[in-house]
């Protein structure tokens, strides 16, 4: 795709340049303006939240291990499901992708740093206070919000002060996301190395550019919805209260106008990571680069006109149901194009299966299952039967865990040598993949059956015919949870030492500019821009 003709590091291969030394100790992190340091902080933050959200998930699966109430009161169970969702979506998956963006986008486009280095610092440091609000909310009277991560009115009006803390936390996280997106868009549009036209950008950069636009478009919409919730709760407004002329369903329209693009915000960068990894390990160029870009853009545009497929059971008119059904089904086409592209890239390649490739291939296989259940759910009549059942829970965990999370793992293993300068332990990486893959399916595959058979989601207790599959899902969940400790171990071990990583450890031909700088990537890179032919 591109070739580099220049000294990649602009003559600063050694660590800090003496004229521009950076603070050390805690100041290095608190006052960080370096995209690599900020990226690292984002990644550690999201990993911490991932484990926190994971513990909540295990709390859910513990209670659902067998019928009856054993561990929690239903009101606390609802807090667990709600906060598991909020934390995983806003605290783990989204910041993790921003961490990847911080590390990789400047390295991939040959820029010395992000466009707005201090705003970058601020958008990271907004995250810990938001996380603290979320944690504190468990300890206020009434506990954390238990209205589901979708925070539907008017249930939100019944919640205690934990609801207000969650609203503030989401506002802060939203502000952080908007700033991050402005930074990413500005960086990509203005700071690409000479010769790197838009259609020569690596796929990860492309997908993030589109994602950043989605974020800027929809995060304010979420802020609006939760602000209206706040004023309904405390200042006597009736946005979502029929008695005062409002409409509870309007909340859902506003929320899902944010919520549907949001799910693509969490998957498009994952597509980008997978599109980078597959060609490198297949030793063959991406089959259709241009069509991948167009497919990503199509998915992003379609994401704005499908929101009400989350609301088929609210009772829409026939025309509404049909429009949202057709529009949703259309998304299957660009998504299909992507899967075909990945498979065609692998076909006639010369493949090896190191951990990044395993996770990328695993992603395609399992994510596609989630894609198909999405198509099945898009059919309004079937959706009316399956809405709010465990089938939906299975579907979105197939796309968010096997989709976004597996892609994040793939990306971590792929770029870890660049970040740390060491190779991770390949054998342990493979164990991590296989255990994750197996336990993931033990956990979530039975949920399809539970949903079809009629088990509603967000239930603290369930009828007896659902007992067997719930037991199986709980066993799988604990296996999956403990497997992730292995990931932590592998990463820490790789940071501390390990075989020295070459500048281009995967032997990527035209794999991107990041492989032209030494490993670990020096503190400052591309101070003189490389030239891309």
């Amino acid at each position: 795709m591109s070739a580099v003709v220049h000294s990649p590091t602009g003559g600063h291969a050694d660590h800090a340049d003496h004229a521009h030394d950076h603070p050390h100790g805690w100041r290095r992190w608190l006052f960080a303006t370096n995209h690599k340091d900020i990226g690292t902080m984002y990644l550690w933050f999201s990993l911490t939240m991932f484990f926190f959200g994971g513990v909540l998930a295990l709390g859910i699966r513990m209670e659902l291990f067998q019928p009856g109430l054993q561990f929690w009161k239903p009101e606390f169970f609802n807090q667990l499901t709600t906060m598991h969702g909020v934390i995983m979506v806003f605290g783990a998956i989204m910041p993790a992708f921003v961490g990847f963006a911080n590390w990789q986008i400047p390295l991939q486009i040959g820029a010395p740093d992000m466009a707005f280095a201090r705003m970058n610092n601020f958008s990271f440091w907004l995250l810990p206070p938001a996380a603290m609000l979320i944690v504190i909310s468990f300890f206020v009277p009434g506990g954390a919000t238990a209205a589901g991560w979708t925070l539907y009115a008017p249930l939100t009006v019944q919640m205690g002060p934990g609801m207000d803390l969650a609203i503030f936390a989401l506002h802060i996280l939203g502000a952080s996301s908007i700033m991050g997106s402005i930074n990413i868009i500005t960086t990509i549009l203005n700071m690409r190395a000479p010769g790197m036209t838009l259609m020569k950008m690596p796929m990860f950069v492309w997908t993030w550019l589109i994602t950043a636009y989605l974020l800027i478009a929809v995060m304010p919409v979420l802020a609006g919805a939760i602000t209206m919730t706040l004023t309904d709760r405390h200042f006597g407004t009736s946005f979502f209260n029929a008695a005062g002329g409002g409409d509870p369903v309007m909340y859902q329209h506003i929320f899902w106008f944010f919520g549907h693009p949001e799910v693509y915000i969490m998957i498009l960068p994952a597509f980008g990571i997978v599109s980078q990894i597959i060609p490198v390990f297949a030793r063959k160029p991406l089959f259709g680069y241009a069509s991948m870009v167009y497919a990503t853009a199509s998915i992003a545009i379609l994401s704005f006109i499908v929101w009400a497929h989350h609301m088929f059971t609210t009772g829409m008119p026939v025309t509404g149901q049909l429009f949202f059904m057709y529009a949703t089904m259309l998304i299957a086409i660009p998504t299909g194009v992507k899967v075909f592209n990945w498979v065609a890239t692998m076909y006639k390649g010369s493949m090896t299966f190191e951990t990044p490739m395993l996770f990328a291939v695993g992603f395609i296989f399992v994510f596609t299952m989630g894609g198909f259940t999405g198509l099945i759910l898009a059919m309004a009549p079937i959706d009316i039967q399956l809405q709010d059942s465990y089938y939906v829970v299975a579907h979105f965990h197939y796309v968010l865990v096997a989709g976004s999370l597996f892609a994040l793992f793939a990306g971590t293993y792929y770029w870890l040598p660049k970040w740390t300068g060491h190779m991770y332990n390949e054998a342990l990486g493979k164990w991590h993949f296989w255990l994750s893959m197996i336990f993931f399916n033990i956990t979530f595959f039975p949920m399809h059956f539970l949903g079809l058979a009629g088990m509603p989601r967000r239930y603290a207790d369930y009828p007896l015919q659902f007992a067997d599959f719930n037991l199986m899902a709980s066993i799988g969940a604990f296996g999956f949870g403990f497997t992730q400790l292995l990931f932590l171990y592998i990463v820490v071990r790789c940071i501390k030492g390990g075989p020295k990583a070459a500048a281009n450890p995967w032997g990527a031909e035209d794999g991107g500019l990041e492989w032209t700088v030494p490993s670990p990537a020096p503190f400052h890179t591309f101070e003189t821009p490389p030239v891309v032919k």
Partner: protein, 375 residues
Amino acid sequence: MTVFSRFAVVRAALAASLSGAAGGAVAVQSKFNLAPPMTPIANEIYSLHNMMLIICTAIFVAVFSVMFYSIWKHRKSKGAVAANWHENTTVEIVWTVIPFIIVIVMALPATKTVVAMKDTSNAELTIKVTGSQWKWGYDYLRGEGEGISFLSQLATPAAQIEGREAKTPTYLLEVDNPLVVPVNKKVRVITTANDVIHAWWMPAFGVKQDAIPGFARDTWFRADQIGTFRGQCAELCGKDHAFMPIVVQVVSAEDYSQWVSGKKQQMAALADDPNKTWTKPELMARGEKVYQANCQVCHQASGQGVQGAFPALAGSKVVASKGDQIAILLNGKNAMPTWKALSDVELAAVSTYTKNSWGNSAGEVQPAEFKAARK
């Protein structure tokens, strides 16, 4: 479509024969697949799902056999040498157009079903379903049985939920007063709610409709088999979301008429004379029952409420006052729903009960006062 439909019919027949032992009284519970369909709409949904499952599985197998073939053949360890081709406009157009055609083929039968599901005209019986935390209210609005009205709550004892007793087969799927409808009659269901959003889900009928406070929505079903069918609330509605099941008994036309006349007699016997003056012990005894059935879930048996969510009634200023409490009971406030649906006697009784329990001592209220306050 016929192949898929036939499969559904076989399933339904199988389910009927399995439940035949109990005289068709209890429909078989599903474990792997959609509940055996008992209405024409549920049948169509069942066939649509089968069709989708088969098409999607076929595509999945086709795509991934290519992937696993290349994983097997085109690996470096087997000496595979990478080709260098990429971009092929013809291929790319083909794999965009073919999915488009498949999607249209899927959408056609679904469209037919959507239109049929939304057609609630010409119903023979209309029932209003009201969701409230955490029970269902049924009002027969039009058709045979018009005027019948009752509440339906979970019948599973707490001892089973907390594991102190063995769980029965209908654990969490049993109610005190099931909804009773005649077989082969079009029943229109109008949903609404008192407090938060609930959803009335009857899997065997292919019906799920959100019950939205302040709004009415409708759906319909025509059950074509006699039996007892069970469903649950499907929209998160607070702490006891999992504990407000739905049970529908589908009965023959004669049994239905009999049930209607029995129910009407029962309701007449229960009706109170609002002009009677009640004694305090009478009000207290009645009030305790009303409290347990309606108020206790939030305000707790101890009258202490739940901190941060539901206010305590013990020592409450509102409870001590006369006018404020009557106004809140009738009109609701924030999370507190309106209790207009209770009778004047029930309201007076529960008001008196809260005024004289948990250390409160604030006199008594007579039904006539609520009658006057309703205007």
